[in-house]
Symmetry: C2
Subunit: 155 residues, 2 copies
């Protein structure tokens, strides 16, 4: 049982467990989201827009970026694709021409109804208790906070 270099063992790495679990979960989402014609990141964007749009607020690209931790290099082309599909409109605001706001179209709002069953469908047939998943979610949020709070930023 000599283990010359356990520190570099793949199975001991939290990072790989995170990487693999994340891909396995998104793979589960894929067929469900394909019915909605959405990729997983597009789905996350729609979640934010559905959530923030409830109050009639105008979500900015920068708001999305803060929420999802994505920059304009990722968001701009993604949002253009959603706009081309008619799910949302992108518009620069007159008060500050640098800012682009996002407004869901009727088609975009209609999609929310169909998306409502996705979370349940996902867990359907998977042997994972909800309370265990919630505990996992909190642990992951703690990791995120620890990693983001570190690098001198005040978030």
């Amino acid at each position: 049982m000599t283990k010359p270099d356990d520190t570099l063992s793949l199975d001991n790495q939290v990072c790989f467990a995170l990487y693999a679990a994340n891909r396995a979960v998104t793979a589960r989402y894929r067929p469900l989201l394909a019915d909605l014609d959405l990729t997983y990141p597009q789905y996350l964007v729609m979640l934010v827009l559905w959530e923030e749009g409830r109050s009639g607020a105008h979500t900015r690209v920068s708001d999305l970026g803060r929420r999802l931790r994505l920059d304009s290099g990722t968001l701009t082309p993604l949002l253009k694709r959603l706009e081309e599909r008619g799910l949302l409109n992108r518009q620069r605001i007159s008060q500050d021409e640098r800012v682009v706001t996002l407004a869901l179209t009727d088609v975009g709002w209609a999609l929310q109804k169909r998306a409502r069953s996705v979370p349940q469908q996902l867990l359907c047939g998977v042997a994972l208790q909800p309370e265990r998943l919630q505990a996992l979610r909190q642990e992951l949020r703690a990791v995120l906070t620890a990693l983001e709070g570190e690098a001198g930023s005040s978030d």
Copy 2:
């Protein structure tokens, strides 16, 4: 306190916590791996090769795929880049010309020494207890097992 659609709330989704935490962790790795001239997936590949190559075994592309849950569409170009950098050699075996085996070069093995400090460096200055991370790793592995064992496959 009316919450019209909590099921689609971003913050309630385990999937997003997983997605965000994974990207935050890989972002932590990035500067460390940049010193080794490796991307994160390339690092994972090297972990497997360092681990399996200890016994002098010849790792196949398909072995890597099983281990990392990646297909040849991802691995082939990645491995070509590592080969171009002189870290490994790719060679079809004579017994079965379909199979490509991977062998680390001296340069590839030498890199292992420099990689040894990476796991420690990563946690350096991060307020996360190791035992908590190990518990998280086990939870993530349970999720992975549950998701992979489901779809009628026998792994």
